[in-house]
């Protein structure tokens, strides 16, 4: 039977070499999933947004190469008052169906963005806005309920759609065949197979050099994405498994692009009053931080492809990162002594919940943590959860007292901070000082004052230890070595502005 198969495949080989597309200047991109909708405001899932935003553009965008928010369809914005902002639009842009990109289109798009029924996935950001009105053809006034420091980030999430086409198609149909202003336009979408785009010759800005079109392919299997990248079938592959990285590092035709993720991995240690456990005691929570060897996890489970947290949940590039803080060092002896001081000289037993199959290496990390904790006398009853059940329990606070989680809030300290406020639906801690700092930071418009607030909050959280600070994940992308200036963002988003392909 083997011989039969070999003969068949051998015959196939000759023709296969000729039959395979020699995708000259079309980039084929392998992501995990097929988009559900190509309307960027229809979802926050990065695989959807990546494809959708190649065609439909936003007012501003956050460029990971310079880590700042840059104008796109807008030329800038200016605060009229703390709750009113004037957005100036770029002149002379048309959608690919000929409709003009102007104040009417933007007002129309902002109104959609604000409507919870139409954009439930953006409700947390959209609730800051109260409305939009046209000032003149290229000027729009957007009003807010309250002063809102992450305004630029929020504006970068409003995607502009052509009103006539939108009204004609409706929300669902627009998402299947969108029209935008972007560098690429829609050609064909065969569900679960391929999404084809060609370049928009009338694009208002600079087109990515050497790229005629994009083909997006959903390739759910990790090993298959790696294989297709190796054979040159894909010029970009998203989310490579860490285990494949050592093998790819020496391939001359492949470039690996590591991106520190927005996702912060942590062990929640609930000290909420309703969750009776030794974790109510701050000394115990600190002791557990000393008992876990973060570096060993990063090096052995992630081959070094994860970043230490420096004892806080804000990343180095974020406003409010506190440079004075450091990770709790690995010191099991000290942990034991602290547990004894807290009244647990022989340790204790505690349930420990973790998801299986939601995050990279989630089970392995949890097992490693449990093993390290057992060395200081803390025995864990490990409970693995299916991802859906895990999310349900997270939101209903049923994971407490102790659980492994990776949280990826949006890239503003306000979103990170809000997850530890006592009213947040899955906070592990209720602390008045933390609440006060988070609230102050969410309103403060002065950047330096705001930085100080979050630095203080990070220091307080470090001390209070509502979590075991583990690591910041790194997303690894693989590209054809000829793809230049390509840098995805920590939330899984990739863009093709200023990217070039060729020698």
């Amino acid at each position: 039977m083997f011989s039969k198969m070999r003969r068949v495949t051998a015959a196939a080989a000759l023709l296969a070499a000729l039959a395979l597309p020699a995708s000259a200047d079309t980039l084929t991109i392998a992501q995990n999933f097929d988009p559900q909708t190509l309307w960027p405001n229809g979802t926050t899932a990065s695989d959807n947004l990546n494809a959708g935003s190649a065609m439909v553009e936003s007012l501003f965008w956050q460029d990971p190469r310079v880590n700042e928010i840059r104008p796109l369809l807008a030329t800038g914005f200016e605060m009229e008052s703390p709750t009113s902002v004037i957005v100036k639009l770029r002149e002379g842009i048309t959608f690919t169906n000929g409709e003009p990109m102007n104040a009417d289109a933007v007002v129309h798009s902002v109104n959609i963005f604000i409507d919870k029924e139409q954009t439930p996935a953006y409700a947390q950001v959209a609730q800051a806005f109260s409305g939009a009105e046209k000032v003149d053809d290229l000027t729009v006034r957007i009003t807010l309920h309250d002063s809102y420091p992450p305004l630029a980030l929020a504006l970068s999430q409003i995607y502009v759609v052509p009103p006539n086409y939108w009204n004609e198609m409706g929300l669902e149909a627009y998402g299947q065949k969108p029209v935008g202003t972007g560098p690429f336009k829609f050609v064909e979408w065969v569900r679960d197979d391929k999404l084809v785009m060609e370049r928009n010759e009338d694009y208002w800005g600079d087109l990515p050099e050497g790229i005629d079109g994009l083909i997006w392919r959903p390739v759910p299997d990790d090993a298959a994405r790696v294989a297709g990248l190796t054979t040159g079938e894909y010029q970009v592959a998203k989310d490579l498994p860490v285990t494949a990285i050592p093998g790819l590092e020496n391939e001359p035709e492949i470039k690996l692009v590591p991106v520190p993720s927005y996702r912060i991995y942590q062990i929640g240690l609930s000290s909420l009053p309703q969750h009776e456990s030794p974790l109510q005691n701050k000394l115990v929570r600190q002791a557990l931080n000393y008992a876990v060897d973060k570096e060993a996890i990063i090096n052995s489970l992630f081959f070094g492809k994860a970043e230490p947290l420096n004892g806080q949940v804000l990343r180095k590039s974020q406003l409010g990162f506190n440079p004075d803080l450091q990770d709790y060092p690995y010191d099991p002896e000290k942990a034991k002594a602290m547990l004894a001081e807290a009244g647990y000289p022989d340790g204790f037993t505690i349930p420990f919940k973790f998801p299986s199959g939601r995050y990279a290496q989630d089970r392995e990390v949890s097992e490693a943590v449990a093993g390290m904790l057992s060395k200081v006398g803390v025995k864990t009853e490990m409970i693995a959860l299916e991802p859906g059940e895990f999310l349900r329990q997270l939101r209903s606070k049923e994971l407490a007292p102790m659980y492994f989680v990776g949280l990826a809030p949006q890239d503003d300290p306000a979103f990170q901070a809000s997850q530890y406020v006592s009213t947040w639906r899955y906070t592990p801690i209720a602390n008045e000082e933390i609440d006060a700092l988070a609230e102050a930071g969410a309103k403060e418009m002065d950047v330096e004052k705001r930085r100080k607030i979050y630095q203080d909050m990070m220091a307080l959280m470090h001390e209070e230890a509502p979590i075991i600070f583990l690591y910041d994940g790194i997303d690894v992308y693989g590209t054809d070595a000829r793809l230049q200036n390509f840098l995805p963002r920590g939330d899984g988003r990739m863009f093709f502005y200023d990217v070039s392909y060729g020698q």
């Binding site: 196939a12 559900q36 439930p120 409700a123 947390q124 569900r191 759910p220 090993a223 298959a224 190796t230």
Partner: protein
């Protein structure tokens, strides 16, 4: 015959209904899909709106009744993720899955049956041993592993075939081979043991005695008589095939129903899961009905009255 057919078709109705009930209960008891479909930082209001829009706020028996009445009209509701009719999503992907399943089945018959016949004819020779050895490996090897292994060998090392996706005939080779591998092994083993029985029968001796050539004896008289149990196994293995496409389609990025099933299950996209279960069950029932009819064609002693 007609009466038999009518009775069989009538019997499938409670079977299908039972499957619908079980799939409804299993999916709905698995939990609320809202948390999986909306991001975790979404407000409670937006969550409630989502539940309301999809009727998830209703008591489960109300949901069940509306599900049944709609399902009777061929409407499984809209997908929670795609906001399109679930049945349409499934039917859109049916062609790809049918293509893959038929190719795998053809491969199974073309390779598995002759291998079994040959092994039986030359039983206990090196030929037999190699067929038996290969089929043992084939049955033992999980298909996701076999799939990845074949990608690495034939696509990455040898560069003969693409790693995945659908398009040319070459794209079909690896997934079909992977999907059929276990079936080939099973069919070869069943064919072999049935042929061993048959080859010892008096009518085979009679056939030889009247001077028929070995080819005719083995392939015409032998295989035809050995084929009924093989056919039964094939009919039952359609179920295996339906399960197999779930894994194979995922590994090979094949845009079919199996992959949709996996995604729908992970996301608790109830309407899609139910539509797929319904269709797979229907296919299984129909194929086995056809197998039953084939019995009569193959063996004149069997007749349905």
């Amino acid at each position: 015959m007609l009466q038999y057919l009518v009775r069989r078709v009538a019997l499938t109705i409670p079977v299908i209904f039972g499957i619908l009930v079980i799939s409804f209960l299993l999916t709905h008891l698995s939990g609320d899909p809202t948390d999986l479909i909306l991001p975790p930082d979404v407000t409670e209001e937006a969550r409630d709106a989502f539940r309301k829009r999809h009727g998830l706020d209703q008591p489960i028996w109300v949901q069940f009744i509306s599900f049944c009445t709609q399902a009777l009209q061929g409407n499984f509701g809209d997908s929670l993720r795609f906001h399109e009719p679930a049945l349409k999503l499934v039917m859109d992907r049916m062609a790809a899955t049918t293509e893959l399943a038929l190719a795998a089945m053809a491969l199974t018959l073309i390779v598995g049956v002759p291998a079994g016949v040959i092994a039986a004819y030359w039983r206990n020779t090196p030929v037999d041993l190699s067929v038996r050895g290969t089929t043992l490996i084939g049955q033992a090897m999980p298909s996701f592993y076999l799939g990845i292994l074949s990608i690495i060998i034939f696509a990455v090392w040898l560069r003969w075939l693409p790693t995945g996706g659908r398009g040319t005939w070459w794209h079909l080779v690896l997934p079909a081979a992977t999907l059929s591998f276990q079936l080939v092994a099973l069919i070869a083993r069943v064919t072999r043991s049935c042929m061993l029985d048959v080859l010892g029968q008096d009518y085979i001796r009679t056939a030889r005695a009247k001077g028929l050539g070995e080819m005719k004896v083995v392939w015409l008289h032998g295989l035809r008589n050995a084929f009924i149990p093989v056919l039964t196994v094939i009919g039952l293995q359609v179920g295996f095939l339906m399960g197999g496409v779930v894994v194979t389609e995922t590994v090979f990025s094949w845009p079919g129903v199996g992959r949709l099933a996996i995604q729908a299950i992970y996301a608790r996209d109830f309407p899609v899961v139910q539509a797929i279960v319904f269709l797979f069950a229907l296919i299984f029932v129909i194929v086995n009905l056809i197998v039953d009819i084939f019995y009569a064609v193959l063996d004149p002693r069997i007749s349905y009255r």
